[in-house]
Amino acid sequence: MNDLLVAAGIGVAFGWALECVGLGDPPKLAGQFYLRDFTVLKVMLSAMLTAMLGIFWAGRLGMLDLGALYVPETYLLPQLVGGLVFGLGFVLSGLCPGTSCVALASGRIEGAATMLGLFAGVLFIGLAFPAIEPFYRSTPRGPLTLQLVTGLPYGVVVALVTAVGVSTLAWIAKREAAR
């Protein structure tokens, strides 16, 4: 029960943050795909940098046991196909699952339509699962991380990702300032 309360609290805070940066607005999200609006990229990059640096330093300072973290498994081909389907739905509706909840909570009808599609998709996949399970479990690669793929030490990967992330954010800020 406590876990559910914590999850609900995090969910509300997450939704509130998304609404604050305007990610409940479908044209704003779709604008990312046409390189008109970089809000999505800015939010994603800053969130990833915060999480990565937070986890690394919390682990280094002994506040978090990194061995206890769950890294989801990679299934290369099904996840590539899933990513494409997800991206197609994202650009068509201008919303992803999280932002569709935010849009609905803000009273936007697009949010309701996207959530309907979301649940219909979940139902369809659930019913079709016995047929697609062999594909779903194909090309397993285990819990892949950048460290495992590149063979570089954890700290070096953190430095490289930070450099790329901060440089990209700085470039976006410069581009927006020039407009």
Binding site: S46, I55, W57, R60, G67, E73, G155, A159, T162, G165
Partner: protein, 194 residues
């Protein structure tokens, strides 16, 4: 904008210092902790009986993940309800959430025991196996022998658990273990392999 710049500079500083501060892992991720393994075997915390597992499944124990390490063909023939198929050669490539209780089983237990050691070597700590495997599931859950000298409550508990999984308990002392109640059901097993 000034705040964003400060945050960016802070992130960059934290990121660029990271390669020089060492590993953030408290312990080595992989490797056999032989003392812990010996302790688990000695205490019996390495395994769970088929009947106990049946109770966990029936009670929908939170975080329970039952894994069948046999071949997919054997899994398709019959598997313990709620189990997922994860053949032994795919175990090392899989990952397990830290809050899950992993229960492994095979045909008779040997392979599950070996898989248990593999998972412990991979750093999975909440892992157990069913020593008698699917054969124990048949003998102790699907077609258990109700003890003649057992209390009525104990016999009822075993029989109820068996019927929950579609089994038929047998009565001890009767000819070949007479089936209590309905006709004997469930898959036809025979002890074979591991």
């Amino acid at each position: 904008m000034r705040l964003a710049r400060r945050l960016g500079v802070s992130a960059l500083a934290l990121g660029l210092v990271a390669p020089f501060v060492g590993s953030p892992y408290r312990t080595q991720q992989r490797g056999l902790d032989l003392d812990a393994i010996a302790r688990a075997i000695d205490e019996g915390s390495d395994h769970v009986t088929a009947r106990q597992l049946a109770e966990w499944i029936r009670d929908r124990r939170p975080g329970l993940r039952v894994i069948d390490v046999r071949s997919p063909d054997q899994f398709r023939d019959y598997a313990i309800p709620t189990a997922e198929s994860l053949p032994i050669d795919q175990l090392a490539r899989s990952s397990f959430a830290p809050d899950q209780t992993i229960v492994l089983y095979s045909q008779e237990g040997a392979h599950a025991g070996q898989a248990w050691v593999m998972l412990r070597a991979l750093g999975v700590s909440h892992v157990l196996f069913v020593p008698g495997g699917l054969a124990d599931w048949r003998d102790d859950v699907l077609n258990p022998l109700l003890p003649a000298d057992g209390s009525p409550a104990e016999r009822a508990r075993i029989a109820e658990l068996s019927r929950y999984f579609g089994g038929s308990p047998r009565i001890e002392g009767s000819q070949g273990g007479e089936v209590a109640g309905a006709a004997q059901t469930g898959p036809g097993f025979r002890r074979r392999g591991c």
